[in-house]
Subunit: 208 residues, 2 copies
């Protein structure tokens, strides 16, 4: 029993890693087995098929995302606090699980339907967030902005550097890993500043 839990968890850890790097199609069951240090047949003993294994790892990954997003949308904290804590939690989550975005994104192209089922079953709702955005505008706390765009902007600023890590790491820091990690950490404050700064109410109206 103890050994089985270990094997099962070793397989999951290996699957997370290999699926994350190679994608669903690119991943090989043999590579997952090697990474986990066990026989390939054991993969099928614990998880019926490659599909089943992927499904589990994928849903687990997507749930982490969804949980954070839902907190952004539902939390009762003040608008500024919500955004700040979301950015903080989200970037931390991404730093700790760098394979997550590539994972979800890899699925987007080849299997959008399942994603949408998953999203709608999770019931991620934007309405309350959009209402709060327009409330904040009416109170004069922020400039006028579409809640959808703001939502996309926040996610984009958090997720993109993780996705583009290998490129940015090379472009900015000559592949120095620790330098890039530092960059990601400073980003936590930078993204907050960027968002809040952009949301400041206009001084002069009719910018455009």
């Amino acid at each position: 029993m103890t050994a089985s839990k270990t094997s099962e968890e070793a397989i999951l850890a290996a699957a997370r890693k290999v699926f994350g790097i190679r994608g669903r199609e690119g991943a090989r069951m043999q590579e997952i087995a090697d990474e986990a240090g066990i026989n390939k047949a054991l993969l099928h003993y614990y998880f019926r098929s490659k599909e089943k294994l992927f499904e589990i790892v994928f849903q687990e990954a997507f749930s982490k995302f969804a949980r954070n997003v839902n907190e952004l949308l539902r939390s009762e904290a003040s608008f500024d606090q919500k955004i700040d804590s979301f950015i903080e939690n989200y970037i931390t989550l991404l730093i700790d699980n760098p394979y997550l975005p590539g994972f979800v994104i890899g699925e987007i192209g080849s299997n959008p339907e399942r994603l949408l089922d998953f999203i709608s079953s999770r019931g991620i709702l934007l309405d309350s967030f959009q209402e709060q955005v327009s409330e904040e505008y009416q109170k004069g706390n922020i400039r006028k902005i579409d809640g959808k765009h703001l939502f996309v902007n926040i996610i984009a600023l958090c997720v993109f550097p993780i996705i583009g890590r290998p490129i940015l790491k090379g472009l900015f820091f000559s592949n120095d890993n620790s330098a890039f990690d530092t960059f990601l950490l400073t980003r936590q404050e930078e993204v907050k500043r960027f968002i809040h700064s952009s949301l400041r109410p206009d001084i002069q109206n009719d910018d455009l």
Copy 2:
């Protein structure tokens, strides 16, 4: 000769599409052949192997990205104009070639080395952009911001909605394609506004 040009181009178009949707591993030579309406052996007649075909399509795609980025970094226009025209061109490019980002991103995880070779051979340099950012700050035109972060932020805001299209389309517009296209178009102005708004110099100093 006429027919050959047609076949070759049909193959490339099909390869762009299939690789874009399925990724390098997920793509099947048979599917590319079917999509192009020709026999599978013809793929190997014109392009030696799957790898070679992918290489060509990938470099072609990446070049489009790099060209735009280089214009952002090198152009002699004013700072504001550079950013505006970059955002405009970049989002247009992405709308016209929605497969591009997933394509490049798919490669990031499984083959970072080649990407980096490609980038360094292209000689994308950030120095001049970063200098210009700090110049603008010293002139009092923008608030203080690290050029690297600004660069990442701009790209992120442009690219992410295209990558996340299937998710966002479902989340925002119940899978209505044309509604999402409209959203992408309004985004062109929105991203400009978002960036410029965030770059406005601070009124009160010591925000944090």
